[in-house]
C-alpha cells in the first residue's frame, strides 16, 4: 500500500515550497516530490532585485535554501531526485507514481515549473559544459576577459547578460525578433554598457569549435545573410517549456502545455491544483509563483475539510 498524505506537492521551486510551508503549517500531512534538487530555476539566478523586503537584493540560492528549511521546519517531508511519471485521479484521492515508488494524496499541487528551451542546433550538445551553458550565474566566471554570446533577449537573457558584462570582454546579445522583449529598464541599462553588442532579428544556426566553443554562426531572418561571430561562451536564454508531460490527458492544458486553473488554482480535476510557472498565465515572477502556492495550499485545505 503506498504512503498516504493530505497534500502531495510536485516541484521544489518557489511555488511548491511556499505551498509546502502553508500546507504543513496548517498541520496537513505534506510531502514534496522534487525531480532533482529543490531550488527550481530560481537557484540559477544570481541576484533577485525585486524580491519584496530586500532592498539590497537576495541571491536565488540563498532565498531557496531558506524556503526549503522553512518548509521542513513546519514538517514537510521533502524527497529529492523523485521524478513523477504518472498521476492518476482516484475517488476523492490522487495516486502519484515516481521512479522510486507511489504515493496517495487527498490533494495534489502541481508546481513543476519549466525547463529552458534548447536551441537544437549543431554543436549545442557537443559543447555543453565546454562553452555552452544555460546558467550564466554558475559558469559566467569561467569567461573572464572572453567574448561570449547571450542567445535570447527576454528578461532572463538581459538580466544574466548584464551580470556577465561586468567581467567578460564583450557580450553579443542575439534576439530572434527585430526588437528585444525584455523590460525597458533592463534594456536601457544594458544598452549603456560599452562592451554590449546587439544582433537583432537573427537566429543561431550552429555552434562551432574543436574541443571548446570558438564561434557561432547566426543568420539574419529576412535576408538569410549568415555571419560568424568569434565567442568562447554561449549562454542560452530562449524561453521555457512547461514540465507537464506526465499530465497529458489528466488535467486540461493550454496549447503551450501549461495547466489551466481557476482563481483558486484548481485544475479541471477536483483536488488537483497547479501553481507557479507551470500554470497557464501571462506573468511569471517568483512573487506570484509564491502567491499561487499559497492559494493552492489554502484551497487544498478547504477541500480536505469538505471530504
Amino acid at each position: 500500500m503506498p504512503d498516504s498524505y493530505d497534500v502531495i506537492i510536485i516541484g521544489g521551486g518557489p511555488a511548491g515550497l511556499t505551498a509546502a510551508v502553508y500546507a504543513s503549517r496548517e498541520g496537513l500531512n505534506t510531502i514534496l516530490l522534487e525531480k532533482m534538487m529543490c531550488g527550481g530555476r530560481v537557484a540559477l539566478t544570481a541576484n533577485i532585485e525585486n524580491w519584496p523586503g530586500t532592498p539590497d537584493g537576495v541571491t536565488g540560492i540563498d532565498l531557496m535554501e531558506k524556503l526549503k528549511q522553512q518548509a521542513q521546519k513546519f514538517g514537510t517531508q521533502i524527497t529529492e531526485f523523485a521524478e513523477v511519471t504518472k498521476v492518476e485521479p482516484l475517488e476523492k484521492a490522487v495516486k502519484v507514481v515516481t521512479n522510486g515508488g507511489s504515493y496517495i494524496g487527498k490533494t495534489l499541487i502541481v508546481a513543476t515549473g519549466s525547463v529552458p528551451k534548447k536551441l537544437n542546433v549543431p554543436g549545442e550538445d557537443k559543447f555543453y559544459g565546454k562553452g555552452v551553458s544555460y546558467c550564466a550565474t554558475c559558469d559566467g566566471p569561467f569567461y573572464k576577459g572572453k567574448d561570449v554570446a547571450v542567445i535570447g533577449c527576454g528578461d532572463s537573457g538581459l538580466q544574466e547578460g548584464e551580470s556577465l558584462l561586468g567581467f567578460v570582454k564583450t557580450v553579443t546579445f542575439i534576439a530572434y525578433r527585430p526588437f528585444m522583449k525584455a523590460r525597458q529598464i533592463l534594456q536601457e541599462r544594458v544598452k549603456k554598457k560599452p562592451n554590449a553588442k546587439f544582433l537583432l532579428n537573427h537566429i543561431v544556426t550552429s555552434i562551432n569549435g574543436d574541443k571548446t566553443v570558438a564561434s557561432i554562426t547566426a543568420k539574419e531572418r529576412q535576408t538569410d545573410e549568415e555571419q560568424t561571430i568569434d565567442v568562447q561562451g554561449v549562454f542560452v536564454y530562449i524561453g521555457f517549456l512547461p514540465n507537464t508531460n506526465f499530465l497529458q490527458g489528466v488535467v486540461n492544458l493550454d496549447p503551450a502545455g501549461c495547466v489551466i486553473t481557476d482563481d483558486n488554482m484548481q485544475t479541471s480535476v477536483r483536488g488537483i491544483y497547479a501553481a507557479g510557472d507551470v500554470r497557464s498565465k501571462k506573468i511569471r515572477q517568483i512573487t506570484n509563483a509564491c502567491g499561487e502556492g499559497t492559494i493552492a495550499a489554502i484551497a487544498a485545505r478547504d477541500y480536505i475539510k469538505e471530504l
Binding site: 534538487m37 559544459g129 550565474t137 569561467f142 571548446t212
Partner: protein, 112 residues
Amino acid sequence: MEEGKPISLTDEDFEAEVLKAQTPVLVDFWAPWCGPCRMAGPVLDKIAEEYGGKVKVCKVNVEDQRQVAIDNGIMSIPTLNFYKNGELVDQMTGVTPNYESDIKKKLDSQLE
C-alpha cells in the same frame, strides 16, 4: 585522510591528493555562487560516507582555487572529474536526474 568526508583541495595539494592517490578519486568542482552545486552538495557528502576508504571524494571551490579548475579545463560547474592512477578517466557535467546512482555507477565500474 579523514574517511567518510569530502576533502577540500587547494591549488597546491591537488597533485598529491588526486594524481598520486592509491584509490580512485572523485573531484567535485563547485562554487558558492552556483545554486545547483550547493543543492547537490549533500549527495557528495553521502557518497563520501558510503565509499569511505574505497574512493577519495574531494571538492575544489573554484572561486578560491582557480588554477586547478583552469588546469583541468573546467568551464561549467558542477563538474565531477573521476581520476584513477593519476589519470582523468571520466567526467560528469551538470546535475543529472539520477545523480546519485549515476555517480555510483561510474565509481563502481572504476572499483572493479
